[in-house]
């Protein structure tokens, strides 16, 4: 005998589960986007580091020698 449980509540649960699923996907997208934007902004720091080394080349050299 096949048991079929049909209730309005199942539809509501389905909707809720679907909604939670969408929210989780959106959350993953949010964190991913945030990571991408923050990482791209690191370009400024790399430039800054390069400029800093260009201005102080001796300091790095001295450190390596010692």
């Amino acid at each position: 005998m096949t048991m079929q449980v049909e209730h309005e509540l199942h539809h509501r649960r389905k909707g809720r589960n679907f909604g939670v699923g969408l929210l989780l996907v959106a959350f993953v997208g949010l964190i991913f986007g945030l990571t991408v934007v923050k990482t791209l902004n690191l370009g400024d720091i790399v430039d800054l580091e390069r400029a800093d080394r260009a201005f102080q080349p001796a300091e790095t050299g001295t450190g390596a020698d010692q």
């Binding site: 209730h7 909707g15 809720r16 939670v20 949010l30 964190i31 945030l34 923050k38 902004n41």
Partner: protein, 322 residues
Amino acid sequence: MTDASMTDAPFAGRPEAGIGDYFALLKPRVMTLVVFTALVGLVVAPVPVHPFLGFVVVLCIAVGGGASGALNMWWDADIDAIMRRTRNRPIPSGKTTPGDALALGLALSGFSVVVLFLAAGPLAAGLLAFTIFFYAVIYTMWLKRSTPQNIVIGGAAGAFPPMIGWAAATGDIAIESVLMFALTFMWTPPHFWALALFVKSDYGDAGVPMLTETHGRRSTRRHILAYTVLLVPVALGLGFTSIGGPIYLAVAAVLNLQFLAGAWQLFRRDETAAEADGYAAEKKVFKISLGYLFLHFGALLIEAALRPWGGSWQILSALFGA
């Protein structure tokens, strides 16, 4: 075993909320004001923000505001069941349990503060955490049921979003953000008290002290005038900061004159006169107050939009050859 027993028995007694019921716990209508003022605070700040970061910041502020709404509904479920206006909210109507609201409120509070910290740094996240704490604990749990100045205190929580938006962009608090906070803060009491004068509320039945009931309608009219008078310098003062300009000042001058004239009219008349014309003046002041905040923040947005062309002062002087 009958079909009926198979389908209904396991579900009896426990509410099963849909996703819309959880969304209703976040007070979406209040959220619109929060989103708009937070967005203005973010956009008018002198430091440009990456559009995606801006989106995340506004989202976090909206979710944080929604979380405090859910915590408010959890704590106030007893009085929400008594008042007509709130009787259909998810908890009193039996769609969600108080535990659901508490869990949602706490989870979203944590989520919004942590993500805002990652997106915009400690100051914006700290301000958002304080706003949630202020609304849920200081206002809802402590002062709402103990003082008729509850509207003033609750207004402070609603005034923080532009300050958080500004802090997210600049990492700082400035006179501009403090004045944007003060504008919303000073606007809230006359806005709500004008409404309280013509809408018969049942706050008294729920044990919430409202100024109209504890101090009388005469005193409420005096309070409306006093707060409107205090609001005017705040609104005009904002126009002379770095985010103001002639467009904002023109809008502010007209709106404040209207609001002040309305508050003065409310102060001058008594209940007999108000009842005679069906509270026409009170309704008019409430209507003015609805547009008041939206237009002030809208004018700030226009001033910010004109900044790439040198700002509205420069555009006006170029147009009129000054």
